[in-house]
Symmetry: C2
Subunit: 219 residues, 2 copies
Amino acid sequence: MKEYSKSKLNRVKRGQNRATYDIEKINTILDAGFIGYVSYVYQGGAITLPMAYGRKDNKIYLHGSQANRMLLALLEAKEMSMTVMHLDALVLARSGLHHSVNYRSATLFGSVKKITNPEEKDAALFCFMEHMMKGRWDGIRTMHQEELDRTMVVEMTIETASAKIRDVGVADEPEDYNLDFWAGLVPIKQIALPPISDENLKEGIEIPQHVTNYYNQNK
Amino acid sequence: MKEYSKSKLNRVKRGQNRATYDIEKINTILDAGFIGYVSYVYQGGAITLPMAYGRKDNKIYLHGSQANRMLLALLEAKEMSMTVMHLDALVLARSGLHHSVNYRSATLFGSVKKITNPEEKDAALFCFMEHMMKGRWDGIRTMHQEELDRTMVVEMTIETASAKIRDVGVADEPEDYNLDFWAGLVPIKQIALPPISDENLKEGIEIPQHVTNYYNQNK
């Protein structure tokens, strides 16, 4: 399967020319970030909260404490939706109507289950951590069993999804190009600044390679 | 009123020490960004989509085409929720459990109405545009009546809200500070890159001051 099938749920209505259902493209958007906006129904209304996630194949991993209200609500609902967006530029047109932003966004729909099998849980936490920063798992101490027990891991199986990408310049009305107004893009980027060691760090410990690599790839 | 009243809807359950209901602090978080995650109920499930917004006092302005599915759903639901989050740092602890992020997030709950009065609509679009980039409104041509007619403006009145802020360093288990693992922060920041003029720009038009100001304040 190379594309998610289109249904009423994931079919993009507005701006279809910017839509894609390509699984690889959607995964690229998911892997470029690690904060997703997860929504659930509470007292008849919709609530959305930012959560860190990991991805492996068509699985998304979330975690939290065993008492996490959102995770419990997701498990009760048995299905969830998650949106990830990267802002790439302000698109400043000559007219208000054609102002826009360049972005890459993906919206996922899928089923949800709790992971209880110890090996699966371990693999999910590994995926989660490595998704945030490659190599991090080997840079921390082993988790205690009591910590694992306090942690709830939720697995979403992506059943359908869509993405929207805008990555072009200004598109004004033809007659407006002669106006004496400036138009253009202001690119926007999320960057990392140099790592700051914990002030209580044991003497002689250097910033590890995987952290330096992350900084160099994101600065 | 200096604080939003706490109800079942906005009371922060997890990490109460990071929670605030202070209106000024919440407004500062809202004004530091212009993309919010708006959620609504669709076929019994919750969907969230990123949308640009403007804020004035306790009002949030969204806009889109008159056929925008989300705006129509919000008007039908008569209430909405919106979340704004700024990611400030990766918090890399010695243990997996104490990994976290530094962030500022606000979640708003409120009622929704469509703005039809022409002066109010104009003021809302001004607010929206100026929220994205101060001074922009004077740098574009006047909107045509037909464009205004095609545009739907939705006003949310913030009825209650909460914010969560984490802005401290690593907090590991006491006994872990002696381990030979590095810990620290990697600050994360969203920046603007130098403006790129439209390739079809009329000759002799310079990048206006308000765009240069924006770049200088966000680079």
